[in-house]
């Protein structure tokens, strides 16, 4: 059964790679209604700015690295956009959307489908701003993604996981890093091949416990 689902997924992926998904409301995502949010009890960050997907091909280390190295829009590794901002990639205007997920993970398949956008063979940019009440050292960013992804914290690349993979909590974990007191920008590029796509992210403290005393403000 699993094999059959995979085959079907791959087949659908092939079809969807060239066509947009039928537009359907995202059941797990909503537009933020509060100025800030807190991580879940398990530390997962639920508020993100996500750019509508960009076409991308390949999940190997080198293909993903090439995809994230390519410049699609100005300041793509530094910008903290506003909800509703648009960028032009190729000839296509793409819009940043602020979202809150109801779950521990952010369902990018739901996100893209809600915009009537492709869900396969695409790259999603995601940004959030984590406010730390104090400087915290020995911290790690811990993520899971479907599929490959590359992550930056305050402009430093900290995680790269590649290949066709499913979202597993704490799959990719950064080396120890320090969070500044105040805002810390977390940025991700998630590359999907075919089928479902999502990600989750949280910070772990020096004892590998989830960091929950954070505030997410998107600025």
């Amino acid at each position: 059964m699993t094999v059959r689902r995979r085959l079907l997924g791959a087949l659908l992926g092939t079809i969807l790679s060239t066509t947009a998904a039928a537009q359907t409301a995202a059941p797990t995502l909503s537009r933020p209604t509060t100025p800030e949010s807190a991580p879940t009890a398990d530390g997962f960050i639920q508020r993100w700015l996500i750019l509508e997907p960009i076409g991308a091909d390949g999940l190997t280390d080198s293909a993903v690295r090439a995809a994230v190295k390519k410049v699609y829009f100005p300041d793509q590794l530094t910008v903290v956009p506003h909800d509703g901002d648009t960028v032009t990639v190729g000839d296509a205007p793409l819009r940043w959307h602020a979202v809150d997920t109801k779950l521990y993970n952010v369902n990018l398949f739901h996100f893209a489908r809600a915009q009537g956008k492709p869900t396969s063979n695409v790259l999603f940019w995601a940004v959030t701003v984590v406010h730390s009440p104090a400087e915290a050292s020995g911290v790690r960013l811990a993520i899971g993604s479907n599929a490959a992804s590359v992550w930056w914290v305050n402009g430093q690349e900290v995680i790269g996981i590649y290949g066709d993979r499913q979202t597993v909590i704490d799959d990719g974990v950064s080396k120890r890093l320090a969070l500044k007191k105040g805002p810390n920008v977390v940025r991700a590029a998630i590359v999907n091949g075919g089928g479902a796509t999502d990600f989750c992210a949280r910070f772990l403290d020096a004892e590998d416990r989830p960091l929950t005393a954070l505030t997410i403000r998107l600025r």
Binding site: L7, A10, L11, T14, T60, D61, S62, R140, A142, I159, I161, Y162, G163, V168, D170, D171, G172, V173, S174, K175, R176, L204, D208
Partner: protein, 490 residues
């Protein structure tokens, strides 16, 4: 939490090498530590000393010479129990001597006589030699077992404050027959009586083997895994002859409180050392409530897989599928061919011929020069996932094993601890302490992998699977499943 037993993962043909240095001894006592040095005493009064538990040298003789001593550290005293026949066997006595240190260079090195703690009169069914001393961790009571073939293995109680017999008028209890070199240990609510069966002192013809029974009470009865009482000859085999070493005997528990257990023993004949009687230290494992003799890690090429995540340690380089990358054609798959592989059916029928192992020389040509990160991934038999583990020459060791170097098989790419307590693969092994690894087996059979040194850190750290795709070095924690690894044939 009951952990699955993980011990039987090493290739059967792989043999660990024995200890290093001067390891000739017969009937060694339990190995004990004094001021971080390791000591053991054998028949005839000789001793062996080691600074690290791996390389041994001859030490000072005891003032009282005899048969098969045992030693225990309680408070500020080291008590040595040593037996001698006083006339024809089985007339014998166990004497106790004590000192505040085992270090002959210490000003406190002075042996005091403690007197006879057990004896046999030459008529009774006992031969009061081969003492084994046991401090019960559950209640602090001190016990001595002794005996050798003539009749019974017997138990008497000692005074933990003085090491002497608690009540000289107390009648010894009979625990076992047809064995010698007995000792007691306690584990998870059971007392275990370990004793050596078979014949000693016949070189490569010695049938010595260590057997065990267990009881809820220190006074027995000690039953083996079939329910047979050791006083009727029972005993579950812990370790017998194997490989190039014959006649294991004289079990002694070595527990340094670091989450792994070891035991000392001697082999009657080490074929690689001309059939000499030699000391060894091996991992002590536990399976279904019974002790199992583990093996120190042998040189070889392995996959290193996290018990927690099931993913394997690898160089962070782009993997190439074994046999090359094959792309399934678009469209629905056809059925596998009815004939031999490759005869039809498309992608799922394979190539039609055996796919050889990956050529590391070929694939590593694509790897970056210099330092490379280390990560974890699903094991796919790829070159960057196969680690050759070999003793590092002249680098010393720890109880039972030498320090190892860990390199990607067929290359010089060497696993090393890096600044910030992280990992890196260096282009070549240079022998620096951060490239040396201490690899020890947990009682459940999983392995712990520790760097000898970490730049910028003096804390004991261990390889830790902090994520499914990422490993780090973390504070030593024997309870953490992140620090448990399977070392498997690739």
């Amino acid at each position: 939490m009951k952990l699955a037993f993980l011990g039987l993962l090493l290739p059967a043909a792989a043999l660990a090498q024995g200890l290093d240095g001067q390891i000739g001894i017969h009937d060694p006592s339990t190995v004990v530590q004094c001021n971080k040095r390791f000591y053991t005493y054998g028949t005839g009064g000789g001793s062996l000393i080691s600074d690290d538990g791996w390389t041994w040298r001859r030490g000072a003789a005891l003032p009282r010479r005899g048969l098969a001593p045992d030693v225990i550290h309680i408070g500020d005293r080291y008590y040595v129990y040593v037996a001698a026949n006083i006339g024809a066997q089985p007339r014998a006595a166990v004497n106790m001597i004590w000192s505040r240190t085992l270090d002959p260079e210490s000003p406190d090195y002075k042996w005091e006589e403690g007197g006879v703690v057990a004896s046999s009169d030459g008529v009774e069914d006992s031969n009061a030699i081969d003492p084994g001393v046991f401090l019960d961790p559950s209640d602090g009571r001190l016990w001595l077992v002794y005996g050798s073939y003539f009749g019974y293995i017997r138990l008497v109680e000692l005074d933990p404050k003085t090491g002497t017999r608690k009540d000289p008028g107390d009648t010894p209890r009979d625990l076992a027959i047809n064995c010698e070199a007995a000792t007691l240990i306690f584990h998870d609510g059971f007392y275990y009586l370990l004793a050596t069966h078979g014949s000693c002192c016949r070189g490569a013809d010695s049938g010595y083997n260590i057997r065990v029974g267990r009881s809820r009470k220190v006074t027995g009865p000690f039953l083996d895994h079939t329910g047979l009482d050791m006083i009727r000859g029972g005993g579950t085999l812990l370790v017998g002859s194997g490989g190039r070493v014959l006649g294991p005997g004289h079990f002694g528990l070595l527990d340094l409180g670091d989450g792994v257990q070891r035991f000392s023993l001697h082999y009657e004949a080490d074929l690689d050392r001309g059939g000499a009687s030699v000391l060894d230290i091996r991992p002590l494992l536990w399976r279904d409530g019974w002790p199992v003799a583990g093996d120190n890690l042998a040189s070889g090429t392995y996959a290193i897989e996290s018990v927690r995540t099931g993913t394997a340690l690898e160089l962070a380089v782009e993997g190439m599928p074994v046999g090359g990358r094959r792309v399934r054609p678009p469209g629905p798959p056809g059925p596998p061919g009815a004939g031999p592989p490759g005869s039809g059916g498309g992608f799922f029928a394979g190539t039609g011929s055996p796919i050889p192992p990956q050529d590391v020389t070929q694939v590593s040509a694509q790897w970056p020069a210099g330092n490379v990160d280390v990560r974890m991934a699903n094991y796919l038999c790829q070159a960057q996932q196969k680690w050759t583990i070999t003793p590092a020459p002249g680098a010393g060791g720890y109880p039972g094993s030498p320090y190892f170097q860990i390199t990607i098989a067929g290359t010089g790419r060497t696993l090393a601890a890096s600044e910030g307590a992280e990992l890196v693969a260096l282009p070549a092994f240079t022998g620096a302490p951060e490239q040396l690894w201490r690899i020890e087996q947990f009682p459940d059979g999983a392995w712990r992998i520790r760097p000898k040194a970490v730049p910028g850190s003096s804390e004991p750290l261990a390889l830790s699977a902090v994520g499914a795709s990422f490993a780090t070095l973390a504070k030593l924690d024997p309870a953490s499943d992140k620090q448990r690894w399977r070392i498997k044939a690739p």
